[in-house]
């Protein structure tokens, strides 16, 4: 363990100083009733710059990012984050703009947002986008708000249900629930795809819409998507596209052409902006024309004098966060889209799918792969065989991968595969890295047979050993105890 920063604090040892004050140094109490003032300064650490820097450098060395190696986390699309994008978002002309500055003073920023929207429309095959949502789940929320507002606007008030496949990401049902919908699960068929019969059975005039990921969480393309769309649309429902897996088709096919009415992108997945250890993301939402009135305001529009923020949108659902979205993230994604262009984006998709099928092909001998056929950007293997034959779980396998220098894949998801290992290798991984991963996975399969204990106790090479997650949840300690009892 690294010492917590509070434990390094030295009373009176802080290293930050303000310039001398050149106005009257009035006491706060002279202007503010003392009952509103703090009696004691907040218990923040007191450290010099050198000690702060060392602390965070040390913490960074106990983290693992894409820049440290292969990160095959399924459905998370951990691709390389180009460095010019970090530079771009830090340009003073982007980083140092107040969101309420007069429009004439931020024409470059508005132009970038305008252009980014256009690029999103072309990529998705949609008509308009809002760039406001701050994350993928936030995009889902926004998208379902739009669907709800649409039905309400049409006085079609009985649509209380949202359909989601049983293989869906957890955010889909959670979002529907949060917005007051009833969630109806649609079964997968033996091919791992939406069961069209079950879909038909679930469909009714009470259904507001269907949320779908395509490719789905098994990495499989929903080839009957047109029939699915017909079924849902026929009964007045709308189709929502969860863009988490867009990297499997981007530049090759477009959700808008498949019948989707609303979608979100994850800029931090498909468009290479960094995940930041859990955010910021960005989840733009695109719609077909008939829904564009419901988008959050403002949208950026252009007139002769220049770009402007259009708030004159009477049907708009309003706002889902303050200001205009995660602008800095959008700058990076815009740079990524412009860097790749049309051919580059398609090529990236092709290589992502190539990498994925290459791994699947070379792992099938040692691991059970439930839906073992052409996949898109990811596939799902399973530790069932190892569990049954060697008593080694998927968790053991995942932890052991760390000893080989890899970040583990997503585990135990999707729920419809037992002991799932959801592997997404992305296009920025070289064949050499994939081959090293294959070799490690094979070695682990061998270890499972010959020395399962080494897996049960893995990881061995990390700064800590396996964590007691149960204790953490039963007796939660959510802040440094030195701050005093909670």
């Amino acid at each position: 363990m690294s010492k917590v920063i509070f434990a390094r604090s030295v009373a009176g040892g802080g290293g930050f100083f303000l310039p001398p004050c050149d106005v009257a140094e009035i006491e706060p109490a002279a202007e503010i009733n003392p009952e509103f003032l703090r009696a004691e300064a907040p218990l923040l650490p007191e450290l010099s710059e050198v000690e702060v820097v060392r602390h965070y450098v040390e913490l960074s060395q106990r983290a693992y990012g894409v820049d440290n190696g292969f990160y095959p986390l399924g459905s998370c699309t951990m691709k390389y984050n180009p460095k010019i994008n970090e530079w771009a978002a830090r340009l003073p002309g982007f980083a140092n703009l107040h969101p309420y500055q007069p429009e004439e003073s931020v024409q470059g920023a508005l132009e970038l947002l305008y252009r980014a929207e256009k690029l999103c429309c072309e990529i998705g095959g949609m008509d308009r986008f809002t760039l406001q949502p701050a994350a993928g789940a936030h995009g889902e929320l926004t998208g379902l708000m739009i669907i709800k507002a649409y039905h309400q606007h049409r006085q079609d008030l009985a649509r209380t249900k949202i359909l989601v496949p049983d293989s869906a990401h957890g955010t889909n049902p959670a979002t529907a629930h949060v917005l007051g919908f009833e969630v109806v699960e649609v079964k997968s068929n033996e091919e791992g795809l939406v069961d069209l019969q079950d879909l038909k059975a679930c469909m009714s005039s009470e259904v507001a819409g269907l949320m779908l990921t395509n490719p789905n969480t098994l990495g499989l393309f929903e080839k009957e998507i047109e029939e699915i769309a017909t079924v849902v649309h026929a009964d007045g429902g709308l189709l929502y596209y969860d863009g988490a897996n867009l990297n499997g088709i981007v530049g090759v096919a477009r959700p808008g052409d498949m019948g989707f009415d609303v979608l979100h992108f994850n800029l931090h997945k498909t468009f290479g902006t960094p995940h930041g250890g859990g955010g910021p993301g960005s989840g733009p939402v695109g719609v077909k024309d008939f829904l564009s009135g419901f988008l959050p305001h403002p949208l950026v529009e252009k007139k002769e004098e220049g770009y402007y923020l259009d708030y004159d949108r009477p049907l708009s659902i309003g706002k889902v966060r303050s200001f205009y979205g995660n602008f800095g993230v959008i700058v990076k994604a815009y740079a990524y889209m412009m860097a790749l262009g049309g051919p580059g984006l398609r090529e990236a998709c092709e290589l992502a799918v190539l990498n994925s099928n290459y791994l699947r092909h070379h792992l099938q001998e040692d691991y059970h792969i439930p839906f073992n056929r052409l996949c898109k950007h990811e596939f799902v293997a399973s530790g069932q065989k190892q569990l049954a034959e060697n008593g080694v779980s998927t968790l053991d396998i995942a932890k052991r991968l760390m000893d080989y220098g890899f970040h583990p894949p997503t585990v135990y998801f999707p729920l419809i595969v037992k002991e799932a290992l959801m592997i997404e290798p992305v296009e920025t991984e070289s064949r050499e890295r994939l081959d090293e991963f294959i070799a490690a996975m094979r070695e682990i399969a061998r270890e499972a047979r010959e020395n399962p204990d080494i897996l049960h106790q893995a990881p061995h090479s990390t700064v800590i050993k396996r964590v007691d997650e149960v204790r953490a949840a039963r007796q939660p300690i959510l802040r440094w105890p030195g701050l005093g009892a909670e």
Binding site: E46, Y56, I84, Y100, Q107, I317, V331, A348
Partner: protein
């Protein structure tokens, strides 16, 4: 420009090894009529040199605050960011990592979040803080949902002194049908206390107070807590974190949930995002809180370590039973906030808050010397509204003089003061507003 490491030969070899002849076969599962069959019209792709030029050109079309003094606040503030901060944020182990679901390989990020949670508790005086939410406005919406869900009540009382965008966001979230928004009236720039307390009834889930409020005024908050809790409602406070260097903490006021915009803590203005919403609550609501939580635990050697915890609350476990769909937090922005609070430290935050206040007081005096008056007769922290006939015109004139003015209210300009503003800049502002531009 491409970011993929494959040489053309390798692509051939890889295709061959999986029994394919060409890349088209990789998409055999997509019906042809669904294929785009052309390149996306995004242009041919720019090399890094071209991209560099293009982006510099776009950035150059903006008037950035390095070059122009800014008196805008209204929820986003132009504070000084110590140079060490960004260099630490560029440590790519941090920014290229995913959510720390695998604790053994992610201790650095987990510990940073744990420390962030602790700092937010220290600032707010609350028991528990989460790992951050999208921004202040959506954090308030989540807090209202949480209050409704926890109390099984529907009414959310929002004050007229709340940031208008926060109000809008809560309204949008209310499309769920699970919340009903009741507006509490304002009087002289602060909440009309009597009228508001009269709104409390058995269906009131919570009352929200922004402190300082949108107009910069300090709300007369004493006494609220008892009335709200007597009604079994929750008191939710929205606060500016920098102000907490000076002002009494929400914990001391008896708040149940606290949210706010974390941007002022070391995050660049960046035209409105990415920012972070912080959220803290008292321990009894811990298991109702949305968003990620990091807890301290031990590993199999009994060594102290950190791990995401209480995940049973979250969407990826609870799915359609989850009370929030929150997934991503704003981890990197929360890291920036932690580094900021570590760099400025305990005394630094107090000094910064005091300086903002002093500059605002100075500005008020300068304005008053020009015969201008404040719209509201209330105490303030770092922001106040000055009465003007045509604030939009004044803002335009200020811009012509190279000054980013204030936020336009009806008949007033809302002006904010951070430690970056100098006496000379304030003198110039006052002279322009009070004299030349009048």
């Amino acid at each position: 420009m491409r970011y993929s490491p494959h040489s053309p030969t390798e692509v051939e070899e890889m295709l061959f090894s999986i029994g394919m002849k060409n890349k088209a076969e990789l998409f055999a599962d997509i019906p042809d009529r669904l294929k785009l069959g052309r390149d996306l019209e995004l242009g041919p792709g720019l090399t890094e040199m071209e991209l560099n030029r293009h982006l510099k050109e776009l950035a150059g079309k903006n008037m950035n605050l390095d070059d122009y003094p800014c008196f805008l606040g209204a929820g986003a503030y132009d504070h000084y960011i110590p140079a060490a901060l960004d260099q630490l944020l560029l440590r790519s182990e941090f920014y290229t990592a995913y959510t720390p679901y695998q604790p053994e390989i992610s201790q650095g990020i987990l510990q940073a979040i744990f420390e962030y949670q602790t700092m937010i508790c220290a600032l707010t005086g609350m028991d528990v803080a989460n790992a951050s939410l999208y921004d202040g406005a959506s954090a308030l919406a989540e807090a209202c949902q949480m209050a409704c869900e926890g109390s099984r009540r529907r009414k959310v009382i929002l004050p007229a002194t709340l940031h208008p965008e926060y109000l809008e966001v809560v309204k949008s979230y209310a499309i769920s049908g699970k919340m009903e928004i009741i507006m509490a009236p304002e009087q002289e720039g602060i909440i009309d206390k009597e009228a508001t307390l009269a709104l409390l009834d058995r269906d009131s889930a919570c009352l929200v107070i922004q402190q300082p409020n949108f107009f910069g005024c300090i709300e007369e908050i004493a006494g609220w807590e008892k009335a709200v809790h007597a009604n079994k409602s929750l008191l939710i406070m929205v606060v500016n974190p920098i102000s907490l260097g000076l002002l009494k903490s929400p914990g001391e006021w008896g708040a149940d949930i606290v949210v706010g915009e974390g941007q002022p803590l070391g995050n660049p203005l960046s035209f409105g995002g990415p920012y972070l919403g912080f959220m803290a609550c008292s321990k009894k609501y811990m298991r109702k809180m949305p968003g990620r939580l990091v807890g301290q635990s031990v590993d199999s050697n009994e060594e102290t370590c950190y791990v995401l915890t209480l995940q049973a609350r979250e969407q990826h476990i609870r799915r359609e039973q989850a009370s929030s769909n929150i997934c991503s937090n704003e981890a990197l922005n929360a890291l920036a906030a932690s580094i900021y609070l570590s760099l400025v430290g305990r005394q630094g935050l107090v000094d910064i808050a005091a300086r903002c206040h002093q500059l605002a007081i100075y500005a008020r005096r300068q304005m008053e010397n020009y015969g201008l008056s404040l719209k509201y007769p209330q105490a303030f922290f770092n922001e106040f509204a000055v009465e003007l006939d045509d604030p939009a015109r004044i803002n335009r004139l200020l811009l012509e003089q190279g000054i980013i003015g204030g936020y336009e209210l009806p008949g007033a300009l809302l002006l904010a003061f951070t430690e970056k503003r100098s006496r000379a800049e304030i003198d110039r502002l006052a002279a322009l507003i009070g004299g030349e531009c009048r």
